[in-house]
């Protein structure tokens, strides 16, 4: 079970991607704190960028783990990543401005213990297991926190559970727990958006023709695709102008990464034919 079928040949080493992922996600999450300092929601899109950065790192971690042939399918790694990540993220939001750092530490502790349990108690004996599950839990927590910022503009527990309903055409507002990220269960959608985006890239690109840059470009594409949905959802909870900025950033990012991914796919293909969906019939 533990015979490694592929090795990372060339490309960026995993440690660099790990470091970049942690730093960019943390910086983006903290840049969204500009929302609180300037008392606007305009910087919510940094949450979406944190999501993309965390997923970018996470999909490469899945590659490192799953190239050992763990026998349970690639999606299981995405599932445990978000299962442990959501638990760490929810407690971390209680710590106010320290939330992203607490999420990092708490998710790492949970992931480390789960890695120990699977490697030793369940006898998996995979060298990369403990480190990979530690990283994946952090990725899950960061992604969900990024979605929380993208959709609500904040990452603290009070802000994520309290929203407001306006009526009489916006003349009066009432506090409501139902119109919020957690109370309205938008977190469940964010959970699945992230889980699909993290498990898909390696699942789609694995095999003898695997190339690092193509898989990572697909990850970025999936991340921006999830960000589009998150940005659309954010219209319900933050002002339309701020949500529009997130949507435009997401659309531009998705368009760019999709084009790049298409190019890389053509580069790696043995041959390709630009077939038309419906062939022209001669004489018409």
């Amino acid at each position: 079970m533990t015979v490694k079928v592929e090795v990372v040949e060339g490309g960026v080493p995993h440690k660099k991607i790990l470091a970049a992922g942690v730093i960019v996600s943390l910086v983006c999450l903290y840049l969204s704190y500009l929302n609180v300092m300037t008392n606007t929601m305009l910087y919510s899109f940094f949450g979406g960028l944190a999501v993309v950065a965390a997923l970018y790192w996470g999909s490469h971690t899945i590659k490192v783990l799953c190239s050992y042939g763990i026998g349970t399918g690639v999606p299981s790694a995405g599932m445990i990543s978000f299962g442990s990540g959501v638990i760490a993220m929810l407690l971390a939001t209680k710590f106010g401005v320290a939330a992203p750092v607490v999420a990092l530490v708490l998710a790492a502790v949970i992931g480390f213990i789960l890695g120990y349990l699977s490697n030793e108690v369940l006898n998996m004996k995979i060298p990369a297991m403990v480190q990979a599950l530690t990283e994946l839990a952090v990725v899950g927590a960061f992604t969900l926190m990024g979605f929380a910022v993208l959709i609500t503009g904040r990452f603290t527990f009070t802000e994520l559970t309290t929203g407001s309903v306006s009526f009489l055409g916006g003349l009066a507002t009432l506090p409501s727990y139902q119109v919020s990220f957690i109370g309205g269960c938008a977190i469940a959608v964010a959970f699945m958006l992230g889980a699909l985006a993290i498990q898909h890239p390696f699942n789609a690109c694995l095999g003898p023709g695997w190339t690092q840059d193509r898989m990572l470009m697909l990850t970025a594409e999936c991340g921006f695709l999830s960000m589009i949905v998150g940005a659309v959802m954010s219209f319900a909870l933050i002002p339309a102008g701020a949500a529009l900025i997130s949507l435009i950033v997401a659309l531009i990012g998705w368009g760019y990464t999709y084009m790049k991914y298409f190019e890389l796919s053509k580069r790696d293909a043995a041959a390709w034919l630009d077939a038309k969906p419906i062939p022209d019939v001669e004489g018409q």
Partner: protein, 277 residues
């Protein structure tokens, strides 16, 4: 360690030291919970651990075929352990959550029935596809006779395969697994819901009716998270395919019990801390 030097997995072997560490970890986490929230929190955590163990144990019953089953070369349902466990458990959890107001016993039974029903429908339609779509009979490769019906298997098994289709014993195993998983998921949800309903109004200074959306959502998300953690840990225990309760891999369940109990205690403690801090 390089990839080439890595030893093959020990398979069914137990690691007594690690099992000991797992049990000690479980006790430490229970102690930590007693320290921060002796009454309600500890009760909830014990319920969560029972639920997690039920999920971990129940998943061993589910016939998982993976990719070989999709090609008709191994018995079971053609997908991974984590997907099947999550499907059955979340179906049960939704059923149990609807019945949450009817009391714990009714809700847990409803959750179990929901999970079992989901697996029964899945197993039946899988067999429809195998028999009428792919034209293959159901035959187990791991036993000579079906332990329940006593039907012989070898004549129906194609050469070069590990069996195919979904024999009766696997069907029964799938339903039992669904019942245990659905009931386990519902127990976790109910324990957390009761805890949050009692404590959130105090910490958030609101009435119980106002915080209900948050209590339901938080309990639901934690239950889903713990469910996936337990399901994937069990998937790692099984590594690949399992036919059901008659499969030799089923004997690995003690490892899974320890791992699920410790993992549920860890995740449960975090879920308790969110209101105990």
């Amino acid at each position: 360690m390089t990839a080439v030097a890595a030893k093959p997995a020990a398979g069914g072997a137990m690691n007594p030291t690690a099992m000991g560490v797992g049990v000690v970890l479980l006790l430490i986490l229970l102690g930590a919970c007693y320290f921060v929230s002796p009454g309600l929190g500890l009760m909830a955590l014990i319920g969560i651990i029972i639920g997690g163990v039920l999920i971990g144990f129940g998943t061993h019953f589910v016939p998982v075929g993976g990719a070989p089953a999709a090609m008709g070369q191994a018995p079971g349902i053609a997908t991974g352990v984590a997907m099947l466990a999550a499907g059955a458990g979340l179906a049960g959890l939704s059923g149990g959550a609807w019945a949450a107001e009817e009391g714990t016993a009714v809700a847990v039974i409803t959750g179990g029935v929901g999970g079992g029903l989901m697996m029964a429908i899945t197993c039946m339609l899988v067999n429809f596809v195998y028999v009428f779509g792919m034209g293959i009979p159901a035959a187990s490769g791991k036993v000579k006779k079906d332990p329940i019906t006593g039907d012989t298997q070898a004549e129906f098994k194609s050469q070069g395969t590990e069996g195919h289709g979904l024999p009766f014993v696997s069907f029964v195993g799938g339903v039992i697994g669904g019942i245990l998983g659905g009931a386990g998921g519902t127990i976790i949800y109910l324990m957390l819901l009761d805890l949050y309903k009692a404590t959130l109004p105090i910490t958030m200074k609101a009435t119980e009716a106002q915080i209900m959306p948050i209590a339901v959502s938080l309990a639901g998300m934690f239950a889903v998270g713990m469910f996936l953690v337990n399901a994937v840990l069990t998937a790692y225990n099984i590594t690949g395919t399992i036919e059901g309760p008659h499969d030799p891999k089923f004997k690995r369940w003690p490892r899974s019990i320890v791992a699920s109990a410790a993992a549920s205690a860890l995740c449960g403690l975090v879920a308790v801390l969110i209101v105990a801090m």
